[in-house]
C-alpha cells in the first residue's frame, strides 16, 4: 500500500494535542492539590464538625474556704444555617415555648449583618441562650426532628452570697472587639466583666477542648473521627482563693446600707484585702443569664446611685484628716519637726489674713497630741515651715516636689495596682500644676495650705487610705493590696508579695502609731475602742463641694502585730466620729472577735439603721429588701 508520508506526519498533531491536554491537566492538578490550601480547609469543614467542649470556669472561695462563686449548667440552642432543613416550625416553637413571631424575629435578627456581624452559613449561630433545664429536656428529645439545630452546653455563674458584687464581677458574652483581640474567643463565648472575673479571666476560663465528629454530605453525624483520639479534652479554669472574708464583706455591706461610701479592710502583713465594700451595691445574681442584659442596662443607667461604680477603688475623695499621719511622717523625715516641736493653735491656723479653723484643745501642741486631737494648725504650720525652708530646698516648688515624692512613695497619686479593673489613681498635685494655676513663683505655702490637712487639690481612694493605714500598722512598708489570696495550683504573681518601702525612715512610724493610739484612748476616735484590743485610729472629716462633710476613718488593730487595717468613708455623713469611727470599729471587732460584744450592740443597731441618703435602697436586687434582724443575719450567713 502506498504510504502518504505527508498525512502520516499528522500523527504528531493528534499526539501533540493530547500531550498538551494532559500537561494542562497536570498543571491544574498541581495548582489544586499542591499550591492551594483552600481546598484542604474546605474539605475539613465539610467533613469534620468541630464541636467545642467548654471547660468549667474556675470556682471562687473566700479566705476561709467558703465557696462563693460556682457554676450552673445552661443550654444554648445553636444552629448551623447551612445544615438546617425544612422542619415543623410550630412544633419547634412549642417545644421552646416561644411564639411564632419571636421565632421569625430571631431568625431575621440572625441574618441581619448589623445585629449579627458574624453570621455565616457554615458556622454555628446561637439561636437562643440559657434554656431552662425543663426546656432543655423537652428539646433534647425532639432534636432529631430539627436538623441543623443542636444544643451547646454553657456554664453560668451562681453565687452563694448576695454580696461582693463589685469584687467578684460577672460574666457576659464577648464582643466583636474582644474576639478580634484574643484568638481564644469565638462568637457566643463568655468572658469576665468587672471585678475578679475580668482581671483573672485568663486563669478562670481554662482551655477549650474540641470533639471532632465526622459528618456526611447530608449533615448526618457518622461518629467520632479516629475514635476520638484527636479530640482534646477541655481543661477546667483555675480556682481562686479570694483574700476576702465573705462574712466580713457581708457585714460591711449591711453596715453601709442606706449610706454612700466604701469600706476597705486590709491584712497589713500580707496586703490581702479582707473586705472591699462599696455602697450602693447590687445583687450579683442580677447579672446572671438571660436577665443580664436588661439588668446591666438598668444598673448602668442608674446615674444617681451608680451601683456599678466601685467607690472603694474608683472614687477619689479628699482624704481629710486621715491625711495627717502622712504629714507627720514627712515633717519628721525632713527634720522640720522633732517630737518636742510645738506649734500654736488658737482655734485654728492664723497666718496674716489666712485662717484655717480648728476645734478646742490645748495649745501649743506637739506631733502626737496633734494627731490625737486632729489639730489642723499643727500640720499647717509644719507644712508652711517645710515649704518656706528655702535654705534647704531652694524654692517653694522644690520643697513641694520633695513633699510630693514622699506621698507618692506611700501609694498616693498613682494606681496602687490592686488586682481589680478600673482603679482610680487619686490625685496629688505637683509644682507644675500650681505653676499653671497661679503662675511660676506666684504661689507659696499659704496659697495651698489646705493640702496639709488633706483638703484642697489632694484626692485619694479609700483603698489608698486603707493602704496608708496598713503601711503605718506595718511600721513602714506595704504590699500591693490584692483581693485574690491564691490562684489554686499556680500561686500568685510576685508583684503581689513584694514589700514596698516608702521614703520615710521606719523609725518615725512609731510616733504616728502612738498618736493614733492616743486618738482612740482619749481623742477623736474614742468610739473606736472595743474590748481589750489596742485599737489605733484617725478620724477624717472632709469638706467637699457636694454638701455635708464626708465622714472618714482609718484605723488598725491591734496596735502590736496588727491583724486588720481599715478605711471607712461615708459620703456627706458629717464628722468622722459619727459614722466612720463606729463602722470601722464594728468591722474590726467583727473580724477580730467574730462577734459584737453586748455592750456595743446599741452602736451596731444604730449604724445598721442609720441612713445618710434620701435614696430608696442602696442594695439593688430583684428581691424585696429585708429589714435587718438578727435572724436574717444568721439565715443569710448559712445560705
Amino acid at each position: 500500500m502506498r504510504k502518504d508520508y505527508n498525512l502520516e506526519r499528522r500523527k504528531y498533531v493528534i499526539g501533540g494535542f493530547i500531550i498538551l491536554i494532559v500537561a494542562i491537566y497536570i498543571i491544574k492538578l498541581f495548582e489544586l492539590q499542591v499550591c492551594d490550601d483552600k481546598y484542604k480547609v474546605n474539605a475539613d469543614t465539610n467533613a469534620f464538625l468541630r464541636k467545642t467542649l467548654y471547660p468549667s470556669r474556675g470556682l471562687m472561695y473566700d479566705r476561709n474556704g467558703e465557696l462563693v462563686v460556682f457554676n450552673q449548667p445552661a443550654y444554648d440552642v445553636v444552629m448551623i444555617p447551612r445544615d438546617v432543613q425544612p422542619f415543623d416550625t410550630a412544633d419547634f416553637c412549642n417545644t421552646l415555648q416561644i411564639s411564632r413571631e419571636t421565632f421569625d424575629k430571631r431568625m431575621s435578627d440572625l441574618k441581619n449583618p448589623r445585629k449579627n456581624p458574624n453570621y455565616s452559613l457554615y458556622s454555628p449561630q446561637t439561636f437562643m441562650t440559657h434554656l431552662s433545664a425543663k426546656d432543655y429536656g423537652r428539646l433534647q428529645e425532639k432534636l432529631y426532628r430539627f436538623p441543623g439545630f443542636f444544643i451547646q452546653k454553657r456554664v453560668l455563674r451562681q453565687y452563694n452570697y448576695t454580696a461582693a458584687a463589685n469584687v467578684l464581677g460577672n460574666i457576659r458574652e464577648v464582643n466583636a472587639r474582644e474576639i478580634e483581640k484574643d484568638d481564644y474567643y469565638r462568637p457566643g463565648d463568655y468572658t469576665g466583666d468587672l471585678g475578679v472575673e475580668k482581671s483573672y479571666e485568663t486563669y478562670l476560663r481554662g482551655q477549650k477542648g474540641v470533639e471532632i465528629l465526622i459528618r456526611d454530605a447530608f449533615g448526618k453525624i457518622k461518629g467520632k473521627y479516629d475514635n476520638g483520639n484527636q479530640d482534646i479534652a477541655p481543661i477546667s479554669g483555675k480556682d481562686l482563693k479570694l483574700s476576702i472574708d465573705i462574712k466580713l464583706q457581708q457585714y460591711g455591706e449591711r453596715l453601709m446600707q442606706n449610706k454612700i461610701g466604701a469600706i476597705v479592710a486590709i491584712e497589713p502583713a500580707t496586703g490581702e484585702v479582707l473586705a472591699l465594700v462599696s455602697s450602693p451595691t447590687y445583687d450579683p445574681n442580677l447579672l446572671v443569664g438571660r436577665i443580664r442584659g436588661k439588668n446591666y442596662k438598668m444598673l448602668f443607667n442608674d446615674t444617681r446611685r451608680k451601683p456599678l461604680f466601685d467607690r472603694a477603688i474608683m472614687a477619689a475623695y479628699p482624704p481629710g484628716s486621715t491625711f495627717k499621719p502622712t504629714q507627720g511622717l514627712i515633717l519628721r523625715q525632713e527634720g522640720i519637726v522633732t517630737p518636742s516641736t510645738m506649734y500654736p493653735c488658737s482655734h485654728g491656723f492664723i497666718c496674716g489674713r489666712l485662717k484655717v479653723g480648728c476645734h478646742a484643745h490645748g495649745s501649743p501642741i506637739a506631733l502626737k497630741p496633734a494627731l490625737q486631737t486632729s489639730c489642723n494648725s499643727y500640720f499647717c504650720w509644719g507644712f508652711k515651715h517645710m515649704l518656706d525652708r528655702h535654705s534647704k530646698y531652694g524654692t517653694t516648688a522644690d520643697a513641694f516636689e520633695v513633699w510630693k515624692k514622699h506621698l507618692v512613695s506611700m501609694g498616693y497619686g498613682y494606681k496602687l495596682g490592686i488586682d481589680l479593673p478600673g482603679e482610680s489613681r487619686g490625685f496629688i498635685p505637683n509644682s507644675a500644676y500650681y505653676n499653671r494655676a497661679y503662675g511660676e513663683g506666684r504661689w507659696s505655702a499659704n496659697t495651698i495650705i489646705s493640702v496639709a490637712i488633706g483638703q484642697g487639690e489632694v484626692l485619694a481612694t479609700p483603698l489608698q487610705i486603707a493602704n496608708l493605714c496598713a503601711t503605718i500598722a506595718n511600721r513602714g512598708y506595704f504590699i500591693t493590696p490584692h483581693v485574690v489570696k491564691e490562684i489554686v495550683g499556680v500561686g500568685l504573681p510576685h508583684r503581689l508579695h513584694e514589700k514596698h518601702y516608702p521614703t520615710v525612715d521606719r523609725a518615725y512610724y512609731n510616733e504616728i502609731v502612738e498618736g493614733m493610739r492616743m486618738a482612740v484612748t482619749g481623742g477623736t476616735c474614742r468610739r473606736a475602742a472595743f474590748g481589750d484590743v489596742a485599737v489605733c485610729g484617725k478620724t477624717g472629716t472632709a469638706q467637699n463641694p457636694h454638701g455635708k462633710d464626708h465622714s472618714a476613718f482609718m484605723g488598725f488593730a491591734p496596735m502590736d502585730n496588727p491583724k486588720i487595717a481599715i478605711c471607712v468613708y461615708v459620703e456627706n455623713a458629717g464628722f468622722g466620729a459619727t459614722y466612720g469611727v463606729p463602722i470601722g470599729s464594728l468591722m474590726m471587732e467583727m473580724y477580730l472577735n467574730g462577734e459584737i460584744s453586748e455592750s456595743r450592740k446599741y452602736m451596731e443597731t444604730q449604724m445598721l439603721e442609720a441612713s445618710t441618703t434620701g435614696y430608696p435602697r442602696t442594695f439593688i436586687s430583684n428581691n424585696k429588701p429585708k429589714p435587718y434582724t438578727e435572724s436574717n443575719a444568721t439565715k443569710d450567713s448559712i445560705q
Partner: protein, 490 residues
C-alpha cells in the same frame, strides 16, 4: 515439514504478535479502576473488595466477562471483522433505535436496556461498531477521502447516525464522543483548517461568553478580545501560511494605524463605536487582500480572507446561539467558565470534586482514607467523578500517574495505528485513539473544573459494566487487528 508446521502454527497464533505493552497498560488501568471503585464506595462498616454487594464486586464480574469476550475476540480470525463490519454496524444501529423505544426513563435518559438484574447501555457498543464501519469504508478499493465529496458524505453519515440516535436517547455526553472522530478524518486527509476552525470557534466562544461583564471601548471586553485575536491570526496566517512578507506587513501596519487613529479620536473626546470600528477595520483589510489576491495571484491569501469573514460571522452568531441554548446548558457553561458562582446548584458537583481533589495534597490521604468521597460529598463518585477518589486518596502523584498511563496508552495506540499496513487497521486504531482522547480530556477536565459537566465515564475507572465491556472490546479488536498486521496486504 515438521519445522514448517511449527512455524505455521506460531505464525497463526494471534498471541504471537500481540502488543503486550498495551495489554499491560490495560491490566494496570483495570486493576486501578477496581481499587478506585472499591475506595469510592467504601463505607465505614465495610465488606471486602470482592463482595458482590459492593460496586467493586460487581465491577469484578463485569471485568471477568470483558476479559473472556476480549479473549474470544483475540482468538477469532481477523478477516471476520473485515467481513462483518457493516453487518455489526447495522445491528448496533438497529439496537440503538430499539433502545429509544424500549428503554425506561433513568434520570431523564432513555439509554439503558434492562434485562432482569443487568442493564446495558448500547451506546457504549456503538463505539466499536462505528469504528469498524469507518475502517471498512476507508479500506475500500482505492478509497481516499479527498477524492470526492461523496466520500466525505459517506464517512459523515457513519459518524452522524449514532450521534443522532444517542441524542434521541437523551444521552448527549455519549453522543458527543463520536465528534472526536474528526481526528480520524483529519488523519485521513481532511484539511487541517477544519480542525483549526474548530479550535478557533471554541476559543472565540469561550472568550466572548466569559468576558461579557467588563466593557472595553463601549463594547464587551470579550468581543474586543476576539476582534484583536482575529487580527493577530490574520497577520500570522499571511506571514506563516501565505509566506507573503508584503501582505503581512501592510495588513499589520493597517491594523496598527487604524487602532492608533481610534485611540487618538477617543483621546480628543470623539466617541468611536467599538463594534463598527473593528468590523470596518477588518473589512478594509479583507478588501485590501482581495485586491492583492487578484492582482498578484497570491491564492493562499484566500484562506485568510475566509477566516476573517467567517470569524466575524461566528462572533455575531455566538450571542444568538448562546441565547438559543437551554437555560440549564447555559448555566453549566457559565459555571464552567467561572462566570457564575453557584456552588449549591449546578456548580455543586464541580466544587465538591475540586475540594476532594484539592484536599488530597501531594501524596494523598492514603487508600480508603479520603473523607470527602467516603462521606458522599461528591455525587456520582464511583461513576463519572471517580477521579476525585484518586485525587483525594492518592494525591497529585497518583493523579499524575493515572494521567500519564492514559497518555501512554493513547500514544501507543497512535503508534500501533501508524504501523498498520492496511487502511482498515489504521483507521480503526485512530478511532480507538480518538475515543480515548475525548473521554480522557472531557472526564478529567470536568472533574477538575476545566470543562463543562458532560456526563461521560473515565475508561476502566468509572463503575459500569457496559463501559468496561465496550472499552475492552475496542482494545481487543485493536490488538487482534494489530496482531495480524504482517499477514497479508490485500
Amino acid at each position: 515439514m515438521q519445522l514448517r508446521t511449527a512455524y505455521n502454527s506460531r505464525d497463526n497464533s494471534p498471541l504471537r504478535y500481540i502488543d503486550w505493552f498495551t495489554v499491560v497498560l490495560y491490566a494496570i488501568l483495570v486493576i486501578g479502576g477496581v481499587v478506585s471503585i472499591y475506595a469510592a464506595s467504601y463505607q465505614f462498616d465495610n465488606a471486602g473488595i470482592f463482595e458482590f454487594s459492593m460496586f467493586s464486586g460487581k465491577q469484578m464480574m463485569w471485568i471477568g466477562i470483558s476479559v473472556v469476550i476480549g479473549f474470544c475476540i483475540l482468538l477469532l480470525d481477523r478477516r471476520i471483522y473485515d467481513a462483518y463490519a457493516y453487518p455489526v454496524y447495522v445491528a448496533i444501529i438497529l439496537l440503538l433505535i430499539l433502545t429509544i423505544f424500549i428503554a425506561p426513563n433513568v434520570k431523564g435518559s432513555h439509554s439503558w436496556i434492562v434485562m432482569g438484574p443487568i442493564s446495558i447501555q448500547p451506546a457504549e457498543f456503538g463505539k466499536f461498531a462505528t469504528a469498524l464501519a469507518l475502517a471498512k469504508l476507508f479500506s475500500g478499493y482505492n478509497f481516499t477521502l479527498n477524492k470526492s465529496y461523496t466520500n466525505y458524505l459517506k464517512a459523515g453519515l457513519i459518524i452522524v447516525l449514532p450521534i443522532v440516535l444517542i441524542i434521541l436517547q437523551r444521552e448527549t455526553g455519549s453522543a458527543l464522543v463520536y465528534t472526536s472522530l474528526i481526528f480520524v478524518l483529519y488523519r485521513e486527509g481532511m484539511s487541517g483548517f477544519v480542525l483549526f476552525a474548530g479550535f478557533c470557534s471554541v476559543l472565540f466562544f469561550v472568550i466572548a461568553i466569559k468576558y461579557t461583564e467588563v466593557l472595553f471601548w463601549s463594547i464587551p471586553l470579550g468581543e474586543a478580545l476576539v476582534f484583536i485575536g482575529i487580527m493577530l491570526l490574520v497577520v500570522g496566517m499571511l506571514f506563516i501560511y501565505c509566506r507573503s512578507w508584503e501582505l503581512g506587513r501592510n495588513t499589520a501596519l493597517g491594523y496598527i494605524g487604524g487602532c492608533a487613529v481610534a485611540a487618538l479620536l477617543s483621546y480628543f473626546g470623539i466617541d468611536v463605536n467599538g463594534t463598527i470600528f473593528f468590523v470596518a477595520l477588518i473589512s478594509a483589510s479583507v478588501i485590501y487582500l482581495l485586491i492583492a489576491m487578484f492582482r498578484e495571484n497570491v491564492r493562499k491569501a484566500f484562506v485568510a480572507i475566509i477566516f476573517a469573514a467567517a470569524s466575524m460571522l461566528f462572533l455575531f452568531s455566538v450571542n444568538y446561539a448562546f441565547g438559543k441554548l437551554e437555560s440549564y446548558q447555559q448555566l453549566r457553561i457559565k459555571v464552567t467558565l467561572g462566570i457564575e458562582d453557584d456552588i449549591r446548584g449546578v456548580g455543586y458537583n464541580v466544587n465538591q470534586s475540586k475540594i476532594a481533589i484539592g484536599s488530597g495534597g501531594f501524596l494523598g490521604k492514603g487508600l480508603l482514607n479520603g473523607t470527602q468521597t467516603k462521606l458522599r460529598y461528591v455525587p456520582e463518585q464511583h461513576t463519572d467523578f471517580i477521579f476525585c477518589t484518586i485525587g483525594e486518596e492518592e494525591g497529585f502523584v497518583g493523579s499524575t500517574i493515572v494521567l500519564v498511563l492514559f497518555l501512554a496508552l493513547i500514544l501507543r495506540i497512535i503508534h500501533i495505528a501508524e504501523r498498520q499496513r492496511t487502511a482498515f487497521g489504521r483507521v480503526y486504531a485512530y478511532c480507538v485513539a480518538s475515543y480515548f482522547i475525548f473521554h480522557l480530556a472531557i472526564n478529567i477536565g470536568m472533574v477538575i473544573g476545566l470543562c463543562p459537566v458532560i456526563g461521560i465515564p473515565l475508561p476502566f475507572f468509572s463503575y459500569g459494566g457496559s463501559s468496561i465491556l465496550g472499552f475492552t472490546i475496542l482494545l481487543a479488536l485493536l490488538l487482534r487487528i494489530d496482531a495480524s498486521r504482517r499477514e497479508s496486504v490485500n
